[in-house]
Amino acid sequence: MARIKGYPEALEAKLRDRYVYGEDTNGKFTETVEKISMSIPHMCYQCGTCTASCPSAPRSSYRIRKFVRRVALGLETEALTDPDLWLCTTCYSCTDRCPRDIAPTDVIMAMRNLAFKRDIIPVNFLKTVQAIYTTGHGVPNNDVNRAARVKLGMDADPPTTHTYKEFIPGIQKILDYYKLKANADRIVKEREG
C-alpha cells in the first residue's frame, strides 16, 4: 500500500472537508474578545500590515492577520485551539502600524486568556508561572549571567526579588488569589505526570 512513505495520510489530510459552517461561528466570541482586548478586531480590512510587521511570521506558521480574521468571524474553536496562538512575542509592532487602529497584540492576549480558561496553554508558559512564583522572575538569574554582571562591574543580582527576597510572598499572594499557580501545577502534572 505505502508506495511513498506518509503519502496516503498526507493526502487524506489534504482531502478533508474545509468548509466554514455556520455552526463554527460564534458571534459572542467576537464580543468577548473585543471586551477583554478593548480593541475593535471586527474593523479589520485584512490589509496584512500586522503580519508583515510581525517578527514571528517569517519564522513560523503564525499569522496574526488570520487570528484577527477568526475573531471578526467568531471562529472561536479554530482560534483557541491553534497552537500558533502562543507564538506572539507581544512586541506590539502590529499595534503600532495597523491602519485601522486595531491592537492585534491585545486581541491575541485576550484569546490567550480565554484559551487558558479551557486549559489550553503550552507547558512552557506554565513553567514561567512556576518560576515567577518561586523567584519573582519569569527568567531567573543564573550563574552565567551573574558572572557576566560582575565582570561588567554590577552586582551579581539585580535589585529585584533576587536581592530583596522578602517581596516574594507578596507576589505569591497575587498569583494564589487568581489560582494561577494551582492551575499551572495541576496542568503540568496532568501533562508530564
Partner: protein
C-alpha cells in the same frame, strides 16, 4: 397698531440697493397674539409616506388626537401627502373650511417645505402660514420598533406645530438684483472649466489664482488615465482659451482678501501680490511704448539667485525671477521677493521694455460679483509623517507626483525615468497604494483619495511601455476602478505584466550601500509574509485640501466637513451648492475627484452659478430680524454679535437705533436671542411663536 407704522418707516429707510420690498410684512403687537390665536383655524394633514410613517405608528390615533387640539378646524390623512392628489386635499380643505394655517405631519422641511408652501398658496393663503411636523426622520425612522412611543411622539409633534401655525404671520420674500458678474477662485482644471462656461454664457468672470500661472495639478501630470492622452496637450488649449476669452478677467498671483455682501451683491477685495514684472498691457497703460514682459527670459539667464522649482516638486532649480514651466498662462515672469537680492541685473538686461519693477508692493482691487465658485483643489498629504515608509529619509522613495515629473518629457530629467540616488534607471519598482489614505490612526486620512489606484496603474503602464524589462509591483488592498473604461484599463495593465500583490506595505528598509529598498508586506492571498528588494518605491500619497482652503472658505461663509473638504449643500441632490446662497464648489476642493469628475462638477457649478445671474434677481427667505424701534435702546451690542455683519446702528429722529440689512440677514437668531430689551423680532421664529411651541409641549396642550 403703533408698531405696524414703525415697520413701514423702517422699510422706507432701507438701503435701496438691497431691495424691492413688495410689502412690509404685517406684524401684530405681542399683546395681540392670544387674540389672534383664538381666531386661528388650523388644518392638520397627516402623511403615511407609504409605510415609511404608517408602518411605525397608528395614524388613526394621531388623527383622532389632532381633532382635540385647540384651533384645529380640520384633520385629514393621505398615503402620499406630497403627491398631486395629496396637495389637492390641502387646497380643497383650505377653501372649504376657511383655514388660516396649515400643518403637514410628514417628512422634513428640507425635503418638502417648498411643496407644501406651494399647496398652501394654491389654497389662497400666504405660503408662510404653513408649518411642518417631522414625524418621519425624527420619529418613524428612529422608533421603528416602538409603535406606541412613536404614536405618542407624533401627537406631541402635531400639537407643537399647531401651536406655532396658530400664530404664524403673512411674510413676503424679498427680491434683490443680481450683479451680472461671477468670480471663480482657483484656476486648476476645475476653475478654468467653470470660468470658461460662465464666460461663454456671456457672464463677466473674474478668475483668481494664487500661483503665477493657471493649470493647477493637471499641468504637472504627464499622461492621464484611462485614455493616456498627454495631459499638457489637452490642457494647454484650454489655458490659452482662458487667457484669451474677453469675458474672463484673469488675476494670477492673486488671492481673495475679503468678502462682503450676499448673493447677488458680493463685494470682493483681491490682493494682487507684488509680481515685480509688468505685463504688456500694464506697461502700455503706463505709457511705456512697446514695453512690458514678452517672456523672452533674458532676465532669468542673468539672475544669480537659485531656488527649487515647486512645479517640478523641487527637483529642478529656478531663479529668483522665473516662470514655472514653458507653457505658463499668462506668459509673464514673476519675481520671488523672498529670495531676490535686488542686484538689478535683470532690470538692466530687460532694458527698454522696462518690464521689471523691483520696488513693487501688493495691490488691492475691489470687484462686485453676483455669484462665486470655489475651486481651490488639493495638496499632497505630507507622507513623510508615515515614518515606516521612509519618505524623505530614503532617497529612492518618491511620491507619485514626483513620478509624474520624472517620467514627463518636459520634466527635470527630460522624461528619463531614473532613481534619485544614482541617476540609474530602475529595474524593479514598487507602488504603494493607499499611502496615508484609508487610515484611521489619526496620522493619515480616513477617506479614499479616489484617483491613486488609477494613476498607479497608469504609472505601471508607462514604465512597461517606456522601459522594457522593468517590473512594476503594485501593493494594493482593493483596486477601485469604478469609472467608465477604468476596469478595462485595469485588465489591460495586468495583461501588460504588472504584478499585483494584495497587501499593505508594513515598512521599508534601505540597504545603505546600494540604496536599494526592502519592502515588507503580507501577500494576503498567499497568506505569506514577503520581503521584496526593489530599486525604487513610489508612494501613492493621500491628498488633502489645499493649504489656504480654510481661510478662503471662511471668507465666503462656506463650511467644511470633518476632514477639511468643503461642504456641499447636499451630498446627493446639491453637490455643487453650499449653504451660503450664491457660493458654489467645483472640483477636488469638495472631495477627491479625478479629471472627468472634476470637469463635470465644474460645469455643474458654472451652470448653478449662472442661474441667479440670468434670472437677474433672487428671492430671499423673509426670515430676517426686524428691529422694534420703540424698544431698541441703541446699545449696539447686537451689532458685533451678528456673524453676517447684517446689523448697524443708525441715527434716527435724534437717537440711535439698530438697522437690519435684510438681504444679509440669515435669520440665525443670534441677535434676537440676545437683545436684553427684547427689541428684535425674528420673522417666522418670533418669541411668542416659540413660547407657544414650548408651552404646547410642556403643558400638553392644556394652556
Amino acid at each position: 397698531m403703533a408698531e405696524r407704522k414703525t415697520k413701514k418707516e423702517t422699510a422706507s429707510t432701507k438701503d435701496t440697493t438691497a431691495a424691492v420690498t413688495k410689502q412690509a410684512p404685517a406684524k401684530a403687537a405681542i399683546g395681540e397674539q392670544p387674540q389672534k390665536a383664538k381666531e386661528a383655524r388650523v388644518g392638520v394633514f397627516i402623511c403615511h409616506c407609504g409605510t415609511n410613517i404608517a408602518g411605525s405608528m397608528d395614524i388613526n390615533a394621531v388623527q383622532d388626537y389632532a381633532k382635540t387640539i385647540p384651533n384645529v378646524a380640520y384633520v385629514d390623512n393621505y398615503k402620499y401627502m406630497c403627491s398631486m392628489p395629496g396637495q389637492a386635499v390641502i387646497d380643497k380643505a383650505i377653501h372649504e373650511n376657511k383655514l388660516t394655517g396649515v400643518v403637514v405631519a410628514a417628512c422634513s422641511p428640507r425635503l418638502h417645505e417648498p411643496t407644501f408652501r406651494t399647496a398652501t398658496k394654491e389654497g389662497g393663503l400666504n405660503p408662510f402660514k404653513f408649518e411642518m411636523a417631522n414625524i418621519r426622520e425624527q420619529n418613524s425612522w428612529v422608533h421603528m420598533h416602538d409603535q406606541e412611543g412613536a404614536t405618542d411622539k407624533a401627537k406631541d409633534a402635531v400639537r407643537i406645530a399647531v401651536a406655532k401655525a396658530s400664530l404664524l404671520e403673512d411674510l413676503f420674500p424679498k427680491s434683490v438684483p443680481v450683479e451680472k458678474a461671477a468670480m471663480v477662485v482657483g484656476a486648476g482644471i476645475a476653475g478654468m472649466q467653470a470660468a470658461l462656461d460662465l464666460a461663454n454664457a456671456g457672464i463677466k468672470t473674474y478668475l483668481i489664482e494664487k500661483t503665477p500661472t493657471i493649470g493647477g495639478r493637471m499641468s504637472q501630470l504627464d499622461k492621464t488615465f484611462p485614455t493616456l492622452d498627454c495631459s499638457q496637450c489637452i490642457l494647454t488649449p484650454k489655458m490659452v482659451d482662458v487667457g484669451r476669452n474677453e469675458n474672463i478677467e484673469l488675476m494670477t498671483y492673486s488671492e481673495v482678501e475679503s468678502v462682503e455682501g450676499y448673493i447677488g451683491n458680493f463685494d470682493v477685495t483681491i490682493r494682487k501680490k507684488a509680481r515685480g514684472v509688468l505685463s504688456v498691457g500694464e506697461a502700455e497703460a503706463m505709457g511705456i511704448v512697446g514695453g512690458g514682459c514678452n517672456g523672452c527670459g533674458d532676465c532669468e539667464a542673468v539672475c544669480p539667485v537659485v531656488q527649487p522649482n515647486t512645479f517640478e516638486e523641487g527637483m529642478k532649480p529656478r531663479k529668483a525671477i522665473y516662470i514655472q514651466h514653458p507653457q505658463v498662462v499668462p506668459l509673464l515672469y514673476t519675481i520671488d521677493f523672498e529670495s531676490c537680492i535686488k542686484c538689478e541685473l535683470c532690470v538692466k538686461i530687460c532694458g527698454e521694455k522696462k518690464a521689471i519693477e523691483l520696488n513693487k508692493e501688493d495691490e488691492f482691487v475691489k470687484v462686485k460679483v453676483g455669484t462665486a465658485i470655489l475651486a481651490t483643489g488639493y495638496d499632497i498629504f505630507p507622507v513623510e509623517n508615515k515614518t515606516e515608509w521612509g519618505y524623505k529619509r530614503y532617497e529612492n522613495v518618491i511620491t507619485s507626483l514626483e513620478f509624474e515629473r520624472l517620467i514627463c518629457a518636459s520634466g527635470p530629467t527630460g522624461g528619463h525615468m531614473v532613481r534619485p540616488s544614482d541617476g540609474v534607471a530602475p529595474k524593479r519598482v514598487a507602488f504603494l497604494l493607499c499611502a496615508g489614505s484609508r487610515d484611521n490612526t489619526g496620522n493619515g486620512k480616513p477617506y479614499c483619495s479616489r484617483f491613486c489606484c488609477m494613476y498607479s496603474l497608469k504609472h505601471a503602464h508607462q514604465l512597461i511601455e517606456k522601459m522594457p524589462g522593468v517590473q512594476p509591483y503594485i501593493f494594493y488592498m482593493d483596486i477601485r476602478s469604478f469609472g467608465k473604461m477604468y476596469e478595462e484599463f485595469y485588465y489591460r495593465i495586468q495583461d501588460e505584466g504588472a504584478k499585483f500583490i494584495r497587501g499593505r506595505v508594513s515598512n521599508i528598509l534601505e540597504d545603505p550601500g546600494s540604496k536599494n529598498l526592502m519592502v515588507f508586506a503580507d501577500d494576503t492571498l498567499l497568506d505569506r509574509p514577503m520581503k521584496l528588494e526593489v530599486d525604487l518605491v513610489v508612494l501613492a500619497a493621500a491628498i488633502q485640501p489645499a493649504a489656504d482652503t480654510n481661510r478662503t472658505r471662511k471668507l465666503f461663509g462656506v463650511s467644511c466637513s470633518m476632514d477639511g473638504w468643503l461642504l456641499e449643500a447636499h451630498p446627493k441632490l446639491n453637490p455643487c451648492g453650499t449653504t451660503t446662497a450664491g457660493v458654489f464648489l467645483a472640483g477636488a476642493c469638495q472631495a477627491p475627484k479625478d479629471i472627468p469628475d472634476t470637469v463635470a462638477s465644474a460645469e455643474g457649478a458654472a451652470s448653478a452659478a449662472s442661474i441667479p445671474i440670468h434670472v437677474g434677481h433672487v428671492e430671499l427667505e423673509p426670515y430676517f430680524a426686524v428691529c422694534i424701534e420703540e424698544k431698541c435702546a441703541g446699545c449696539g451690542m447686537c451689532v458685533n454679535l451678528c456673524p453676517y455683519t447684517a446689523l448697524a446702528l443708525i441715527e434716527k429722529d435724534g437717537r440711535k437705533v439698530m438697522q437690519v440689512t435684510e438681504a444679509k440677514c440669515k435669520g440665525c437668531g443670534t441677535c434676537g436671542g440676545f437683545c436684553p430689551g427684547g427689541a428684535i423680532w425674528m420673522n417666522h421664529f418670533a418669541t411668542p411663536q416659540i413660547i407657544a411651541q414650548i408651552d404646547a409641549f410642556l403643558l400638553g396642550g392644556e394652556q
